[in-house]
Symmetry: C2
Subunit: 315 residues, 2 copies
DNA sequence: CAGTTTATGTGAGAAAAATTCACATAGGAG
DNA sequence: CTCCTATGTGAATTTTTCTCACATAAACTG
């Protein structure tokens, strides 16, 4: 601070008295006696060696010197008040706009939303199913959860979770059409969650089924739809350790093979740099990581247990 | 003040400590002990219920909350310091940068500069001969005195003086080559102060000499040079009631004709809006108007007296 | 006009905030 | 390891802020 500041507390009394044009009104606002305000004004005038008020009537009128000072003081105190109010604003109040890869939104976040709502009842979420990274930079989006390689420029990004891929199917389908070998897979419809079949290829390659004839297959657009189709018994989809975990735990999907492969991509949390410091954004992100941490995958039934063995074999 | 302010004196310690990254450096700057600063920071943190510094090393590092607060405080105190410094700065000290139409600068302001200097010995003037209105908006220019129609947008402008135009010549020239009629004017060189001869045309039209043959004439670039050429006996220039007044009063220029015409343009004082409130600018402008007011045109010799009669006839 | 209400001013004393002082702990450099 | 220099902290001291009671004066009312 290159210059010397006048006494700041008397400056507070000055601002109130000048704004209200009255010592007693300023005293009421500041919750002190009028004598305190009067003393402070005198102190300030002495410090600045300037007469700030014309006191020829019952009301205070600013002198030209006082009029010179008031706008700067008004703005200064306004800025400080605003900054401290911003600091005090609960991080647990307000609106948050989130985009999230569709499968994660449907099968992970939506089922856990009650946990967030209970902890932060005053936060309103606006959720949009999207894996489009360009939306990261939209002013209408506060946080994005994306599935990809994590390379999104000019944004704050943090890895949320890796995942393993493996075939999943509904109990109903597997009852009517057993699936015990790679050969049996040939008789089923393969449900793709990506657009080029790359993830199924990865799994099949690891399972020595790379040259399995692709009799029937559908490309469902995204993993949410491929998973939903599997739930409806339309075929075999590739589930993963995150989005399919609850469905597997609940017995809605079964895991017929003892093999999971790491996905090339992962889930990341991302937001614009300037949003990272926003308390409400941090609250959500912290909740997301905490939920993942606390998310103890329940003991799945026997088929799902084989996944865990496959994973430990790879590490 | 709609919000409640944090304690302002502790905020002063916060700003210094954050800026310097050190309790003891802040103490030195504020001229208190380090203990005082430490106590103040604790007081502020308690008041705001926020940790403002990371103290894991010997140096202070701002937390995110502290980083949120600092810019607002820096700006606030900066504004207050600037306003109080402005209040304390005498209006009669400092530097002033002025542009002025060349003839007025040479023949009016420069001869009167001692008057300004005597009254305001601590004001340093930087003078530039220019009638370019675009310089009005330059940050390097505080005040401009312009000759024109007064229509300069986005600036504060005030009419300073109208003027009358009439031919002037040196006594030496008139001795060797008398000038008693419009016919005699034909044998002289006409000296133009403008670029298109418009002002001579105006005078000649009023003197019924519009069709006078233009045997010899020079365009001098501006009225200062045309007036100087007249002083050197190079020809007949158009003088005016302001810039030529002193030269006429001193007998350096004579007024051979009993006719003056109002100029289409006038002299104006102008400056940027934000400069208008600057005390030092007001000091100069006030001096300018006061000098014009106090400028009693001395009783000119007989030829110059005819101008006055011509003027009263037109009003 | 007189009386009443309400405004700001002021000195002395009380209360709160700011500061010093002395001791303490700890980080960092050589 | 020692030494230097950093911040922390409680108690005492100093300074600032505030209250209280009295004062003067402007403005209002009947």
């Amino acid at each position: 601070m290159s210059g010397r500041l006048p006494p700041l507390n008397p400056l507070k009394a000055f601002e109130a008295a000048a704004r209200l044009g009255s010592v007693s009104a300023a005293a009421r606002e500041l919750r002190v006696t009028h004598g305190a305000v009067s003393h402070q004004l005198r102190t300030l005038e002495g410090s600045l060696d300037a007469v700030l008020f014309d006191r020829s009537g019952r009301r205070l009128k600013l002198t030209s010197a006082g009029a010179l000072l008031l706008p700067a003081v008004t703005q200064a105190f306004g800025g400080i008040a605003a900054a401290t109010a911003q600091m005090k604003r609960p991080a647990t109040t307000g609106k948050l706009s989130i985009t999230c890869v569709p499968a994660l939104l449907s099968f992970w976040i939506v089922p856990r939303l009650h946990s967030f709502t209970e902890q932060f009842p005053d936060v309103t979420l606006t959720l949009a199913a999207s894996n489009d990274p360009t939306q990261l930079h939209s002013r209408d989006v506060d946080v994005s959860i994306l599935y990809g390689d994590g390379n999104w420029p000019d944004a704050w990004t943090r890895l949320w979770s890796h995942l393993q891929l493996f075939p999943v199917a509904s109990p109903t389908l597997l009852n009517s059409r057993p699936l015990r070998s790679m050969r049996d897979l040939e008789d089923h419809v393969l449900l793709h969650g990506d657009s080029d079949g790359r993830e199924w290829n990865t799994w099949l390659a690891a399972a020595d089924g790379a040259d399995l004839p692709r009799r029937r297959q559908h490309f469902m657009g995204d993993a949410r739809f491929s998973t939903e189709a599997a739930l409806y018994g339309q075929g075999i989809a590739l589930g993963d350790t995150i989005t399919a975990a609850k469905l597997i735990a609940d017995g809605e999907l079964l895991v017929p093979f003892d093999l999971g492969v790491p996905a090339n991509n992962a889930f990341y949390v991302a937001c614009r740099h300037e949003m990272r410091a926003a308390p409400i954004v941090r609250v959500f992100i912290d909740w997301l990581f905490a939920s993942l941490e606390a998310d103890t995958l329940p003991e799945p039934h026997s088929m799902a247990r084989t996944i865990l063995r496959g994973r430990s074999g790879k590490s």
